[in-house]
Symmetry: C2
Subunit: 325 residues, 2 copies
Amino acid sequence: MSKAETIGSLGENESLKRTIARLSASDFALVGPGDDAAVISAPDARFVVTTDTLIENHDFKLNWSSGYDLGWKAVASNLADVAAMGATPTALVVAVTAPPETLVSWLESFADGLREACEQLAPGCGVVGGDLAASNQMMVSVAAHGSLDGREPVLRSGAKAGNVIAVAGTLGKAAAGLALLQSENKDAISAYDNLVNIQLRPNPPISSGVAAAIAGATSMLDVSDGLAKDASRIAKASNVSIQIDPLMLQGFEAVLEEAARAIGSSESDWVLFGGEDHALLATFPTDAELPREFKPIGVVLEQSATPVTLGVKPLPEKGWDSVTG
Amino acid sequence: MSKAETIGSLGENESLKRTIARLSASDFALVGPGDDAAVISAPDARFVVTTDTLIENHDFKLNWSSGYDLGWKAVASNLADVAAMGATPTALVVAVTAPPETLVSWLESFADGLREACEQLAPGCGVVGGDLAASNQMMVSVAAHGSLDGREPVLRSGAKAGNVIAVAGTLGKAAAGLALLQSENKDAISAYDNLVNIQLRPNPPISSGVAAAIAGATSMLDVSDGLAKDASRIAKASNVSIQIDPLMLQGFEAVLEEAARAIGSSESDWVLFGGEDHALLATFPTDAELPREFKPIGVVLEQSATPVTLGVKPLPEKGWDSVTG
């Protein structure tokens, strides 16, 4: 058997070549990977761009996440930001830093995760460029691009009093999965592996972003830092207050109840304050027909002292912070 | 005096807010920083995109580089890739990871470097989005975008036998600066601070990329890993050989001679194998009028066994590798 190949032994060029070979092309790439830059089609003469980074031991742990999981998660979290503008994802560039002793087979599995997340979450979107460098700590930084196809972008700032607020995707499942992993309770991890899987490979409803835009969404974002914190972002950007109806969260909580009991956690905390589901949170005029995937969870009110309330109680803005954790 | 503020004490949102306040807007931004994504104009319905990462203790050292230097270098190295396609830079997104104890004042100085590099190297281009997260090791990952204004991109693969090969910008100065810093020879570092400054804040000829495209350049890239290695990339992509004329490199060597003598290094090695100048290397038809900034350094020949020769001697492909160093 040959010695296990590492990215340090192969070098940047050869390691990148192996990785790129596993990716599928973007339908929008006029010039793909391999030159100083890629050239991407922007049909309506505009493009959407966002960037997000995942860091070892902070956003992921290598003993929990495989290369595949990490590739998937990096794509999913970035595509959700593109979707939250009401755009269709077109192209990604991916920068990876990893210790030189990282196996090339790990990098190949990572590439498989990138490819399959694109194919399943946003068919037609692909990786068009990348960068690989040596570091102590593994890190994945993605910039994602999208096309608005002539529509106006859906911003955080357009919510109006009287609007309905609704969510597409999961709430609290990623946080539940994280709590399960942290519990190190093997039985619970195995019993609720559907929740663990959402933490490792979130499944944001990417195409629902365009559906929301077409349905007339007045504001939208992706719930990366928790419902409370992200709803408050809409409230502040739009100069409104948001009232979440606790009854309308019961469905989200119900599916987490058993797992919460198994490890002594609170399903309600997961739903309200848990990040990383990358659900889409959007506001709509009352006369809009909500896309099927969106479930109403409350209403938009005139601005008051409290950005977000759960029923009549102020909802604290706690949640995830990329720096303080 | 108040306690020194760190990004850990302020958190991601407030630290990012402070940073963004110091940036200048991109002329191409239809929606700037602050939403899930930015929206950028792409006048000819295409955009160019590239990504490059700088890693602490690998691409920079914090006792050599200030925050300002690092911001500048991150912009310069990415803009050079956009320029090498023949494009005008339009917008950047910047992901930073840093230890929580990093001072906010460092981050502000970093933002100043981002801003001034954009203003001086590519007026009109600006930072349109970013991400900040905690890590052990500092890292800056940039994705840069550009507009081709209706022109065809200049690829690495278009060089033709009979073409002239020419370079715009500096060769070997960044490597000389690195060698000076590594020598820890304070007198030499001070005497040749112009070279040290190119290492810390490279000055690639960004607008020369568009000039080369307009002049009919058949291939182009930016010299990030050294002349020998990058010329070989053009040769391989274009299925040609490149013959560099040693006499035509004398001007590049002459300005490095004294510094090389001062620390016992070779100016010729710096010019041939030194990376990080981000000069533009391009090939032109013999009847093209070279833009003023481009100096001819050799000719393109039919493909032979050796991708690049210096005179008649094969030039080894050694140079910088982002993984193996």
